[in-house]
Structure formats: C-alpha cells, structure tokens
Symmetry: C2
Subunit: 250 residues, 2 copies
C-alpha cells in the first residue's frame, strides 16, 4: 500500500488536527488499521475538505500525522458521495467510471424497493477495480471508496445530515432543479461533505422519498426529461463538481 502511487483517502476535520498531529476517531482508526490493514509508517490521503486542503498523512504510534501537502491536487474542494440505487445489468460500472472521473470520493451502492440487481462479491471487486483504473486515467491521486452494497434503510440510518448536505434526485416531481438550488440557495462554505442519492429504474417509492425528506435530504429535479438510472448520477455529479470547482478557475 505504501508504495502505491495512489492512496486511500480519509476525510478529517480541522478540529482533529493539532499542528501536524491528527487525532483519529475510533471509526477512522478501525477503517485505517482493520479495513485497509495499514500499519505504522503507511500513508493515506487526509482530505481537509472543510478548508479545501489535501495532505499525505502517515500512520504513527499515536494515530496519524500530516506529512506533506498533496502535489498536483485535482480533487474537488468538497467531498462528494453518491448513494446510488443499483441499476440493472452493468449500468453501475458506467456510473463508477464516469463519476470517478468527475471527482466523486465515495460510492454507496444501495438496494432500494425497486432495485432488481443482486450483486455478487465478484461484481463489487470489479467495481472497485474500475474506480481505481478511472482514478488513474483521470490523473486523480485519490481512489474513491466503494462500500459493499447494503439496503437503503441501513445506509440512511447512520447518516448525519447535520454535517453533510444531502440531495435526493426525484424524476417526475415538481421539485426545483439541482442547478436552481445551487444558484439560489448556495450552501454555506462550511459544508465539507455532500451526499447525492439517485434512484433505480422505476424510481424511488413514495415511502423512500418520505424517509429521505424526514432524514433531511433536499429533494431536487435533474430536468424536464426522464433520465435513465445510469445517466442521472453522472448528470448530478457533473453539476455539483462544476458548481464547486468553477470558483478555482481564473
């Protein structure tokens, strides 16, 4: 892992840093040491999305430390997660490929009421490989995290929308366009993370949309025409990436 040119990424908040020392939460420690199996001296990317910085960090005895700022940083100034109700066939491959190019840092594949696909572990391995290849091709240094598929409810329950901005894409509604929302209700600069959810073929059920509203998601439209389940997340990621990135241009 330490020798790979591409590293796993972890979002941390500035309040976790004291000088170059990072105080890891127990969840983060578990993720780095148990899930990724990193050890002392191994490197990862610490994304301080809140302040638009990315650092190479290293595991230490006490936790981790910021080692050096990431060079040639092409990451978005926000940490963008996609929660995608799995589409039929190989559709999710296209989503992972395009949205990795667009700067997404986390994919959460969910099984919703109308999801037909029952993905095998081989599929999930293949998706992670596609994410890695797409990150390389688009010259990113961060490889997006791709969760094991899980039921929608299980994905929603631990989600805290006090610290994240949540958008929920809905077709055939009378909701504001995501672009309209971005232009007229520009979210506060201090929101470091965004999660955007898109539905399966046939869309979300009414009960799912109710759960999303209750959870605090902003329900939005992606336009007048009906987009396929594969196209919707690519369109949404295009808009969010462009909106948050365009400020960096001259």
């Amino acid at each position: 892992m330490a020798n790979r040119s591409q590293l796993q990424r972890l979002t941390i908040t500035p309040s976790q840093c004291q000088g170059v020392q990072i105080r890891l939460t127990s969840d983060q420690e578990h993720y780095l040491l148990r899930v990724l199996r990193l050890g002392k001296g191994d490197r990862f990317i610490a994304l301080l999305a809140e302040v638009g910085e990315a650092w190479i960090a290293q595991i230490t005895d006490e936790g981790a430390m910021l080692s050096q700022p990431l060079e040639g940083n092409r990451e978005l100034p926000v940490a963008l997660s996609l929660m995608v109700a799995l589409p039929k066939g190989n559709g999710f491959e296209e989503i992972v490929r395009c949205c990795t190019e667009l700067g997404v840092v986390e994919f959460i594949p969910v099984i919703s009421d109308r999801t037909l696909l029952k993905p095998s572990p081989q599929k999930v391995t293949r998706w992670r490989k596609i994410a890695q290849e797409a990150a390389e091709q688009s010259e990113r240094i961060v490889i997006p995290t791709l969760w094991d598929p899980l039921p929608l409810k299980a994905a929603l329950t631990p989600l805290d929308l006090n610290s994240k901005l949540g958008y929920w894409a809905l077709a055939r509604g009378a909701d504001q366009h995501l672009m309209h929302h971005l232009i007229h209700n520009t979210p506060s600069e201090s929101i470091p993370e965004i999660i955007l959810a898109t539905g399966p073929e046939g869309g979300w059920t009414a009960s799912e949309v109710a759960q999303a509203r209750e959870k605090g998601f902003q329900v939005i439209s992606l336009g007048e025409r009906i987009l396929r389940a594969v196209t919707a997340p690519i369109v949404a990621a295009s808009l969010l990436a462009a909106w948050y990135e365009q400020g960096k241009q001259p």
Copy 2:
C-alpha cells in the same frame, strides 16, 4: 413519417413566420423534401428556440405552416448541438444515448486529426436508432438529427457563429470552466442555438484549437480532472441543459 408519434425537428426563427405561415429557406426546403422525403400534409416540429416555443408544423404547397403548439413539451429552451470528434470503439453510442436524454437536438460526428474510428454506414444507422430509442425513453417528442460523419474542417467551414454560441472544450488548458463562463458571462437571451465541441482521445491538435478560436468558438474547460472522450460531451451537455432549463422551474 406523418403517423409516427415522433417527428423530425427544424429550427426556425420568428422572422420566418407570418401569422401561421412559415417561409422556408432553400436549405430547409431541401432538408424537409429531399433528405427527409416529406410531402404535402406531412408534419414536423418547428422549434422557435429564440422565443422558447415548439410547434407541430405541416408541409403546404407554399412551404409550411404552424399547426398547433407542442403539448407536453420537454425540449430545452435552446437548440443544443454537439460536435463530437468520434471516440474509439462504441463510445459514441453512449454519448448519443445520454445526450439525447439530456435534450440535445443535433449530433455532428467529426473526424479530427487524432480520430481513430472510421465509422461504417451501419454504425451511423445504429447511432440514429439509438437516438430515436433514447428520445422515446426520455419521453421527448423531438428526435435529434444525426449528421453523417465528416472531417472537422468540412463541419467548421459552413458554421456561422454570428447566430450561434460556440463552446470548444479543451483539457489541460488554463481556460475558464464552462460553468464559470455561464455564470459570469451569461449569454444574451437572444442566442437561440448553441454548439459545443469535444475532442477525441488524445485531445484536439494545436492547429484544430487555433481554427476553433479563429472561427469564434469560446474555448472552455470542463474541470481539473482529465475526462474520457465519452464523458466530456455528457458533462458539457449536463451543464448547458441545466443552466438553460433551471429558469423554468418554480
């Protein structure tokens, strides 16, 4: 053709209309009567993009006439054309499918200096079939026009950027993001047509970019990361469609 639920579309300007009568240009007459082989009484869609209207029109002895406003109009308020340097393999199929969903009305596949694909007539037929199917699935009434592939120079020569707004996507440049350009230099409301060009794998050559600038294209970036030739037109169409459509939402 007249019985099909989907009709071909033609962009006309308000100045061509006198009451319900349409004075066709000789190019338009050629297109309707010779290329599409329509006859008296046959219907097509007259897109008055300049005033955001779409009508069912009918061929008459004298030219054509507006018959009735299009119901359930899901078309964009601008006529969006894509000029795409053909990507390798089947990549253009994905572009046609997604961008038809996004509301594109015209595809101009071009052979640029670095284009590797030499498309067969069968391929072109297949692309048109995909455009038709995608228009149906996304519940559009307009089927996008798909040109026969042609050399870039041949596509650029007749282009008049006095009446169209032209964007030219370039990777690895220091150009403004398309989104930045849209927000800060909002084009005049009177621009009825937009043409956006994206390059092949390996990008445009310097000479092609020079030709584009000379022609009057605005060179723009689609973000910090390197997008595949397949992803770039989908991202660009997402941004343009959202920008021009969001004003229609509540």
